[in-house]
Amino acid sequence: MNPRILGRAGAYLVLLAGAVISLVPFYWMAVAATHHTADLFGSPPPFMPGGALMDNLSRLQNEHRFGRVVVNSLGVALVYTVLSSLISAMCGYGLAKYSFRGRGILLGVVLATMMIPMQVLLVPLFQMMANLGWTDTYQAVILPFLANAFGIFLMRQAFLAFPDELIESARIDGASDMRIFYQVVLPGVRPQLGALIIFTFMSQWNSFIWPLLMLNTEEKFTVPIALNQMIGLSHVDYSGLMLGSFVATLPIMIVFFVFQRQFVAGLLGGAVKG
């Protein structure tokens, strides 16, 4: 047989095997969410969706108030995303389009926060929140990581490429600095802003270690914290856990499918040109 065709077939086979490995955990998560725990570890394990989705859903709701948990997660992620994206975009704009004393220092701090792992800050931040009496509150979850270095840097790069002439002409027309920012500049960097918003939402939705430290009351849990608590119980509700994981993954997957391009751009940052 033609060696070229053989080579291509081999390559497709490798790709297919990799794709199956990529997808099986997702598929199994969805299947497991529709079966009773007792059936999950039977022999053979279920391969097709079952009929226990509603049972699992109501148990998840009754025993873990999962609806509340999802609303908490969405609320925290949305508030964080709006505030953090805005603060990052504003700071990026200030750094890109104004010259002022201390600009170099501020940029240096932004870069430093990207280099220094947040784990260093965990203990002092924890004590700070305890001293403020903010433990077990959402402001303690949201505030410390609101100024996002990656986002500021991303937006600074975007604004640097924005033509100064447009800003100048708007200024001559008598627009205030804030107005120029919101009505002239921001619409001009929509793709990068989209990437920033997606990235910010995802990082908060997935955030684990900090909310784990801050939130103690079950009613305030976010999805990752609730899942973590469920797996630590002496009697683990596996199908509920799989359904919960599915719910945790779903919003991000939807965002991913809809905004694939911005998504990849956001995650890769400025790593690669093109």
Binding site: G94, Y98, V120, L121, F126, P144, A147, L227
Partner: protein, 309 residues
């Protein structure tokens, strides 16, 4: 990032307007409207805790009072078997998991870049998917897949006649489980980055090499990979930093067990700080992590960075 920065350097010195001096001074205060909020947040939640953490690493709690103990916490580090174990575990991940993953990602990226490939976008999406899942959710799924009695993986092993494995409770297998789950999540992510790098190289080089009679694999290894060095460096450094900061995966999968076989420095600092409330020692561990990240990144930069330009 370096690519973008050169562009920025050119514009850096261009002021916002050509206004005469007194007006520029007025403008120079307006920037606070934009940079003020972030600056305040950085001072409060980055600079202050950072300094506090340095100070803290020289203190200890004695009967509820924080006292200065000099280098005592750092001396403890040297004799701590659990910390040593966590560093050995991390080194093992760095030596085994990261190269295997980057290698796999490179192969995937090479195939995904082939000119004859159909549905490139679809494949890329499937491979990228694991990277977007919630860390905790995917760790939970792996925990269930790898369950010793009746977990899917063990059932399949049984099915083909190999006995099941005690994935999460045996030291060696727990490490392998951790490696498998991290590799599952991040290989496609790195492949997509490498693919973007490959696409920037362009097709002419493949064609030139194939006219010279080189096969596809030879071309890829000899001609393409050397040019991809900066991107490979980027992937290696981000993966290394990620490994040095590993927490979520092993916390959910094994809680660092059995017998600290999957303990990592950050999980250890979490336990020391928040289970044992030993804040001074936790701060010292944190600075070890910072130092390691700096060092390893520097070494990688030196090793791989040579000839990258």
């Amino acid at each position: 990032m370096a690519v973008v920065q050169t562009e920025s350097a050119k514009r850096e010195s261009v002021p916002a307007g050509d206004a005469p001096r007194p007006r520029r001074r007025r403008i120079s205060l307006t920037h606070w409207w934009f940079t003020g909020p972030a600056t305040v947040l950085f001072v409060a939640f980055f600079a202050y805790p950072l300094l506090a953490s340095i100070y803290q690493s020289f203190t200890a709690d004695q009967d509820g009072v924080t006292v200065w103990v000099g280098l005592r916490q750092y001396r403890r580090l040297v004799q701590d078997p659990v910390l040593l174990q966590s560093l050995v575990n991390t080194a093992m991940l760095l030596v085994i998991q990261v190269p295997v993953m980057i290698g796999l990602a490179l192969v995937l990226a090479g195939v995904l870049n082939a000119s004859w490939l159909r549905f490139r976008g679809g494949w890329r999406m499937v491979y990228f998917l694991p990277a977007v899942t919630t860390l905790v959710a995917y760790s939970v799924v792996f925990r269930v897949l790898l369950k010793t009695d009746g977990g899917m993986v063990n059932q399949m092993l049984d099915g083909i006649g190999i006995g099941g494995v005690d994935w999460l409770n045996d030291a060696t297998w727990a490490r392998i489980s951790l490696i498998l789950s991290i590799t599952w999540r991040w290989t496609g992510y790195n492949a997509v980055i490498l693919l973007a790098g490959l696409q920037a190289i362009g097709r002419e080089q493949y064609e030139a090499a194939s006219i010279d009679g080189a096969g596809a694999v030879t071309t890829f290894v000899r001609v393409i990979v050397p040019q991809l060095k900066p991107v490979i460096l980027f992937c290696s450094i981000t993966s290394t930093i990620g490994t040095l900061q590993l927490f979520d995966e092993n916390y959910v999968l094994t809680r660092g067990g059995p017998d600290n076989a999957t303990m990592t420095p950050v999980l250890y600092l979490y336990k020391v700080g928040f289970d044992q409330m030993d804040f001074g020692y936790a701060a010292a561990i944190a600075w070890v992590v910072v130092l390691l990240i700096g060092l390893v990144s520097l070494v990688q930069f030196r090793l791989l960075g040579k000839g990258a330009r």
